[in-house]
Amino acid sequence: MRRLGPLAFERRLTPSRPAVLGVSLLAILAALGTMSIIFAAYGVPPLRAYAVIIKGTLGTRFGLMEVLRRTIPLLLCGVGLVLAFRSKFWNIGAEGQLLAGAVAAAGVALFTDLPPPLLLPAMFGAGFLAGAIWGMVPALLKVRLGVNDVISTLMLNYVMIYIVEWLIHGPWKGPTMRGFAYTDTFPRAAWLPLIPRSMVHWPTLAVGVGAAILVALLLSRTRLGYELRVSGESPDAAHYAGISFLKVSLVVMFLSGGLAGLAGVGEVAGIHHKLLPPIQISLGYGYTAIIVAWLARGSPLAAVVTALLFGFIFAAGDEMKVTLQMPFQVVGVFSGLILFFLIGVELLMYWRVRFLPKGEGWTGKAGS
């Protein structure tokens, strides 16, 4: 216990829910504060910047829809990453898995003759599988050869980026696209329905919310979820309990990669309707989803909220670009700051502040 005037600070061994929430909010506020300095340094009065952001995102129907549109890929990738992080698999490869999903969806849309009602389900199925396979490679490498998961998942992002580049410049280049490195436009039956006057492909959103619920149930109610939690919390105990590390890793990365793959399907089938350069398919959703998942602290349902938060930040980035002529990189700066502050204030959760007027000493009771 330490004292500061009438306040007593006590260590506690497990953080309470309000403490987690409060500290997370504190981190976001601190990031906003730091961001103000950057705005000011960039010559934009911070208050004006925030006013523009709020008005442009939450103030209009269009703005709100933009937030939702950005939320979709972040949610799908984020839920998958929550799962991976719960089992301590450092999947930094959601970006590549997302692109793998986009490639598979484009392949199905462009090169199969499936009847229209089956086309979209087939695209989702293929996209999930492609992301899943792309995710299982690092799982195998880690379990069999001890290849660091951060590096392998990350490197596979680059590999997939260049595979997409190759496809759109080479074999899949659309004859109707002339000079552009695009594939042909998908047939109409491969377009996802949108919420009117918006770019929100609602079926993918529904899949995302459904995935969050299913993953939450998986973690809390199933044998597999139990094994996954044990492996993540204590690999030694998992080994002791006869839980197969290979199986858990493969299943986790199958699901995690697959969900990211679905996000890729949503982007190409819902918005672009073709395969195009990777930086246009994803604005780094796969990377930002890491923060979405980390902020959600292992809860797939909380990822819905944190994905919305980052959907808002992305939409804000667009707004700043258009209205304030700031580069879109502000999003990266802000995301990095939030992540920094989030982990920086983590220790705070383990302290409890109590009001203890002078004279009163140690009460002998432990912090709960």
Binding site: Y162, W166, S335, I343
Partner: protein, 307 residues
């Protein structure tokens, strides 16, 4: 092309390509030897690349640019140190945050510098005498970067420091068993801060090399994953500065050999080579059991057990 010029240009370019990798890897080796993984190499490199370019362009001296890169890199690493050493945050996440932040911040600041060629890039070096040797002369001693030679020299010095001096024992002990070092009065936190800062400075210079010499201009995200390859090479080198030299040479040699295949493969495949190689290199390291050589306390924040 005859075989001689083929070998010469492959070696020559491999050295140039490998230089930032070597600087970055040497720095990361020191950070990890002290027990802290810094996944922020990519972020520190890009910040270094930007500040080197900005300073070199504004002041007109590329060496000052490199100095700025070192300072900025070290500064960025100190942020990582604050979070991971003092606040005991997860080292992976903090490093990722540093990379995300670095890429974003350099992009934000660098927006108006994009596409301007650097007025006076770092001069090339041709070693008198040695450059006249057949084959080896043009391959190793003509049109080389000062930084290549300094990097090789540093590798030897850093190896000596690590294995033959008092500091070396301290650094390695802090990474293997911080509790032991602490119990003997070593300031674990200070050692980790210093090693991280050193690693950051090295990464900064590595990034600076890219923007004031390798491709003397500023492009957004110009490090293009080099920082991640550095982390892979650190593991491949089994945390040994001399082995890092061989690791880097092997890696960049392989890369340039692959480049020779461009007649048969689409360019995109050549671009993805380094990343695929990085995974390959780690798989090889895994087969050789390199992970057992990892510092014992790597990735684990130290606290004095006061719970």
């Amino acid at each position: 092309m005859d075989w001689e010029s083929w070998v010469v240009s492959t070696l020559n370019r491999a050295l140039a390509y490998g230089t930032p990798l070597l600087w970055g890897t040497l720095g990361e080796i020191y950070a990890e030897r002290a027990g802290v993984v810094n996944l922020g190499v990519e972020g520190m490199m890009i910040l270094g690349a930007f500040s080197a370019f900005a300073v070199a362009q504004s002041v007109g001296d590329p060496w000052l640019g490199l100095l700025a890169a070192a300072v900025v890199g070290a500064g960025a690493a100190l942020i990582h140190a604050l979070f991971t050493v003092t606040l005991r945050a997860n080292q992976y996440v903090s490093g990722l945050a540093l990379t995300i932040f670095g890429l974003g911040f350099s992009g934000l600041l660098g927006a108006r510098w994009v596409g301007i060629p650097l007025a006076n890039p770092l001069p090339k070096l041709t070693v008198p005498g040695l450059s006249q040797l057949p084959v080896l002369g043009p391959a190793l001693f003509q049109n080389q970067s000062y930084l290549t030679y300094i990097g090789l020299f540093l590798a030897v010095v850093l190896w000596l420091v690590l294995y033959k001096t008092r500091w070396g024992i301290v650094i390695r002990s802090v990474g293997e068993s911080p509790a032991t070092a602490d119990a003997l009065g070593v300031n674990v936190f200070l050692v980790r801060y210093l090693c991280l800062a050193f690693g950051g400075a090295m990464a900064g210079v590595a990034g600076g090399f890219l923007s004031v010499e390798y491709r003397p201009a500023w492009t957004e995200g110009m490090t293009a994953g080099t920082g991640w390859i550095v982390i892979a090479l650190t593991i491949f080198a089994a945390w040994n500065p001399l082995r890092a030299v061989w690791g880097v040479l092997l890696f960049s040699g392989l890369y340039h050999l692959a480049y020779r295949l461009q007649a048969w493969f689409p360019p995109e495949f050549l671009k993805l080579m380094p990343y695929a190689f990085a995974i390959l290199v780690l798989a090889i390291a895994g087969l050789r059991g390199a992970r057992q050589l990892a510092p014992g306390a790597l990735g684990i924040p130290y606290t004095r057990g006061e719970k």
